[in-house]
Symmetry: C2
């Protein structure tokens, strides 16, 4: 088992990507790593590179501002493209990147292609709930204008992923909506409801955002515009609230601050499934890391990539597609 790492992408690349790879190898030995990036820089930062860690040299990288497709056409050996290619060629079993999400989506589509039967791959993220298990939301930004059949694809892919990665049989699937009743919502959600109701999935109906954080469903689907708004609303509000509360805690002393940091740990869970967002629907394991990810998150993302590769959720998606076709 080998995982490719795009060490050139991300706000803290290559340092934190390389540090994350180191962390991973210190604690785990079930996968080898392929560091994709500038070999000179990599060897400067990690002089005693262990045997389990290969380097694939490339000095091309897609920068954050660049148009993904234009950039990939000009830079055939952009680090993110090389990572996807290694997976395609069977030289790696999955890859992670913290660079441009658009470029990673484009590279994954170009190199790995889509799973047969899937029209719209989607970005999915796991969010914490007040319950014991997280909720997987998709799409959170890859597809801003979709049809009801795409929401069904998202549900099917999310279900297969959640089943394999979280070990839950027939995960509960919800449709993100502004009311619980079947008749609620816009044209898109009403049409999607009808499809989901008749599918083989464990569809539990509409889920409102407030119930979502209570862990009502395991997987919740929505179009990429709405999903991205939901994600950024959660991030923005959670930062704003944490800021105000820390300020209050500071005036009460260090012990209080520590106590509070502890109380909000739930909102920054440390288990691997929260560390990266899988691109579901592409024909291979491609995990998007947040641009701001530091070494511990990167190390977790590698663990998640290993679980993904072992679980073979891609096969389960194909099977479920057949069942519903």
């Amino acid at each position: 088992m080998k995982i490719a790492i795009d060490v050139m992408g991300g706000d803290f690349a290559p340092q934190e990507l390389i540090a994350g790879a180191k962390n991973y190898l210190q604690e785990n030995d079930d996968a080898g790593l392929i560091l994709v990036g500038d070999e000179k820089i990599i060897r400067e930062l990690w002089s005693d590179l262990p045997e389990k860690c290969e380097v694939f040299h490339t000095d091309e990288v897609v920068e954050m501002g660049e148009h993904p497709l234009h950039a990939l056409r000009q830079k055939k050996n952009a680090s993110v493209a090389v990572c996807a290619r290694l997976v395609k060629q069977g030289k790696a079993d999955g890859f992670i990147s913290a660079g441009s999400t658009g470029a990673q989506m484009a590279a994954s589509l170009l190199e790995l292609g889509k799973i047969k039967g899937i029209e719209r791959p989607a970005i999915s993220v796991m969010l914490p709930t007040s319950g014991d298990s997280g909720v997987l939301i998709l799409d959170v930004g890859a597809n801003v204008d979709v049809r009801a059949s795409h929401l069904f694809e998202f549900a099917l892919m999310g279900s297969a992923y959640y089943e394999k990665i979280c070990n839950v049989e027939r995960p509960k699937i919800g449709l993100l909506n502004i009311g619980e009743e079947e008749a609620k919502g816009n044209e898109l959600t009403k049409a999607a409801y009808a499809i989901l109701k008749d599918s083989s999935l464990n569809f539990i109906g509409n889920v409102e955002p407030d119930r979502l954080f209570q862990g009502k469903a395991n997987v919740v689907v929505c179009d990429g515009f709405v999903g991205n708004i939901l994600l950024k609303t959660s991030e923005g509000l959670s930062e704003t609230m944490q800021g105000a509360m820390f300020k209050a805690a500071m005036s009460l002393g260090q012990e209080t601050v520590a106590q509070f940091k502890n109380s909000i740990k739930k909102f920054s869970p440390s288990s691997p499934e929260y560390s990266a967002a899988p691109l579901l629907g592409v024909n291979g394991v491609s995990l998007v890391c947040h641009g701001k990810s530091k070494a511990p998150i990167i190390s977790n993302a590698i663990k998640l990539a290993v679980s993904c590769a072992k679980s073979n959720y891609v096969d389960l998606i194909t099977k479920e597609l057949t069942k519903n076709s």
Copy 2:
């Protein structure tokens, strides 16, 4: 100046509605009140009804589960319909209700009608930010499938309301989106961007949800589906987070709890503009209160209704429409 109060609507009706009216009259004398509801119940709860407080008897009420239009057709004297009618007839200068939002929207449309030139009235709410001023979001649920021209209407109405109620000249108008660049978003937001850019409004471009909570814009527009998701995500997450933090504070003693309650006051602001959601675009002042509103909020909502009636934002909307037609 008179404000009509639907004392029959809301989770804590009629008690908290009547208590809110009492609170208001204890502290303010710039408006008389008309309590709309079952006179017998009202007089039981408030035996020494002051002169400034009239009663308009009706024993009909739209229940929460009922279909708004069906219910209003059968119950001509439903409390919410009577309130809207009093405003239409000039016997009240505005009204508030904590009952079914759908019924209030329908009653407002049937009795008051729309402002000439407005196709889609919208529900707007003020949310707190980490800055000094709140941000008005619309639509948050009245219109789930809209065109770009409707988002422009929302912007124009929100601008007029914010200018009058928050005393800000040419409020900054943002378009809720998943990226800041003009080309970002779905078909709807791209089309709306083009219209807003060429309008007389103080349009500052796209606003992502995380920047929204930083107070980047005064008014942010979106379709009612997305706005409702944003609102419920904020409510749900904020409750979940507050729950976890209070739990932590409890173990540190009463003083800590008090300190923390104080730190999150910002997220439940006590000034009137946060107490109710104006239905903008209907031809009169109609304020939606949360179903769970208790007396202090109701009292604030009455204050807001008075400000709204005095400010005459309805006229400003009409003027702005002419400027942009």
